[in-house]
């Protein structure tokens, strides 16, 4: 998937705004052909990092290297990066063809070559037949496809995506996600992807960088982030998590799927709880249990013999979990 050659590295980068927000002491390495997501709530600094990478913001401190060459002080037009914004990517007074050809024309490529490249890009993002239209004549999803095609056309060393699908409908969003993933593995390009949607980050990333308040909380594969969150913030931010108080002043974090409901008997060695609410979510059941440990969310696969009702008392045990200090 990704070989180990370092493509992009950020060393000790700090960028603070006058209002005190921004990022501090960011270190990050992205490998060739890797898709890395910067994930976090709004205001966590993920877009700041991306804009520094694109050259739209000057860092206060630190260096950026791309393919071993320092790019910290290059303006956006001299950087081998290409960016896709959340919206307003396209130039409204140009046709789709002109939008796509703009960067290539600046590079003074022969017209025939531009025509071929644009045709290939149009086919890649599946917007054939729209070349003569203006951006306002396309849907939001199509516009983002054009923006991606335009970014790919200049053959960037790194593709930067700033929440490119967040303005789209849920259905189109997941479709675009899949296509992006396919394009990425076909073309073997390196991508830095900013999102606040953990599901999106989990779905497409090779590695996720979870951010909070201008700093990095954890870097890891989606599995690592989900199974072994290294901070309480990551545990809370990614997926569903129960936080249970323990005697030692520590907090136990358990995923709902790791709450094992004892389906055969009541009582025994385990904890007990009453079912407060129960919802059938398709292939599993979501339960809220009222127990001596507090309210606990549990997921239970469907299809067992026992029928549960709200108000029933059940026994359960706690499986895989992690401890955090308060």
């Amino acid at each position: 998937m990704s070989d180990n050659r370092v493509k992009l590295s950020i060393n000790g980068m700090t960028k603070k705004y006058s209002n005190g927000e921004g990022v501090a002491d960011i270190d990050l390495t992205v490998h060739e052909g890797e898709l890395v997501s910067l994930l976090g709530p709004s205001g966590c600094g993920k877009t700041t990092i991306l804009r520094v990478l694109g050259g739209f913001l000057k860092p206060d401190k630190g260096n950026l290297y791309l393919d071993g060459v320092e790019i910290t002080h290059l303006p956006p037009e001299k950087r081998p990066t290409a960016m896709v914004f959340q919206s307003y990517n396209l130039w409204p007074h140009m046709t789709i063809y002109e939008n796509l050809a703009f960067g290539l024309r600046l590079r003074k490529l022969p017209a025939s070559e531009i025509k071929e490249s644009v045709a290939r890009a149009v086919a890649l993002v599946q917007i054939e037949g729209n070349e003569k239209k203006y951006p306002s004549q396309l849907s939001g999803g199509q516009q983002q496809r054009v923006a991606i095609a335009r970014a790919l056309l200049i053959k960037p060393a790194v593709l930067l995506l700033d929440e490119p699908f967040s303005a789209l409908d849920a259905k189109i969003r997941s479709q675009m996600r899949e296509e992006l993933k396919k394009i990425q593995s076909d073309l073997k390009i390196t991508i830095v992807f900013v999102t606040h949607d953990q599901e999106e980050a989990m779905a497409i990333s090779n590695r996720i960088v979870v951010m909070n308040r201008g700093g990095i909380e954890q870097i890891g594969t989606p599995e690592e982030i989900y199974d072994a969150p290294s901070t309480r913030f990551v545990a809370e931010f990614i997926g569903d998590m129960n936080f249970l108080q323990t005697q030692e002043g520590k907090v136990m974090a358990v995923r709902p799927e790791n709450i094992n409901i004892n389906i055969d008997s009541n009582g025994g060695d385990n904890l007990n709880g009453t079912i407060e609410t129960m919802m059938v979510m398709g292939h599993f059941i979501e339960m809220i249990l009222n127990s001596e440990k507090g309210r606990i969310k549990a997921f239970l696969p469907r299809g067992g013999n026992r029928r549960f009702r709200e108000g029933d008392t059940v026994s359960f045990s706690i499986g895989a979990h992690r401890m955090f200090t308060e």
Binding site: F56, P76, S87, W91, F102, L106, R150
Partner: protein, 277 residues
Amino acid sequence: MHIWKGFYFAVGRRRFFEFLAFSAFLLFFFGPLLNLVMLAFSDEYTYPSFLPSALSLKWWTFVLSQKNLASSMALSFLVAITTTIAALLICIPAAYAFARFRFPFRRFFLFSFLITNAFPKIGLYVTMGILFYKWNLMGTFQGVIIIHLINTMMFMTWIPAGAFRTIHQEQEEAARDVGASRLRVFFHITLPTAMPAILVASIFTFLASLEEAQGTLLVGLPNFKTIPVVMYTVIFDYPATAGAVFSIILVLPTLLLLTFARRFVGTDAIAAGFKMK
């Protein structure tokens, strides 16, 4: 009377008053214009009679035979074109700065453009006259252009600034991202996107300059007589009919340009210019 009553009950009360209001509007709006056209084509027109005694093209021949008419016309257009180009060169960068950069007293400066328009013009011109005498600008072409520029700065700055503001930062950044320098971005992305508004502002400027009389009269005479200046003198010396002919001659380019402007740009571009942000 019976006819009105029947009409009232046929269309209903609301529509009836709407009809009255609309008729009054039409009368106010087109009445003077119709009167102007009538005057321009009448032979003689004396007070008690409502309609002219005879129609003729007499005053057209008179006006068109004025020996300085052609040169005044040429001068008017020369002044208007020069003013428009100068206003573009001065105001477009200013408009861009107002739209894009945050600097101290920004809103004060933006507002100051309104002040020149809020003043009674003649007072402003008299004060300026003192400076113009000092700098030897009285009776010069440059002097006339400066006077015209002052009148048009507001439109020329506010309307394009509004258009520049509507261009999203991402659109400019995306262009730099694919390799365009700042200058290229301005000429390939920013300027073309704002073009409709700039066109509207230029037309306003051109028209305002074309019909400017007060300032030109004070600064330009006796060397520079534009059409409105000639019109003033004709109105003073000849019957109202001659003035009517001049008015029609002056209104023609205005009509043409406004039709052109309406076809190419929407009112929203104009409206956007008057937001004080």
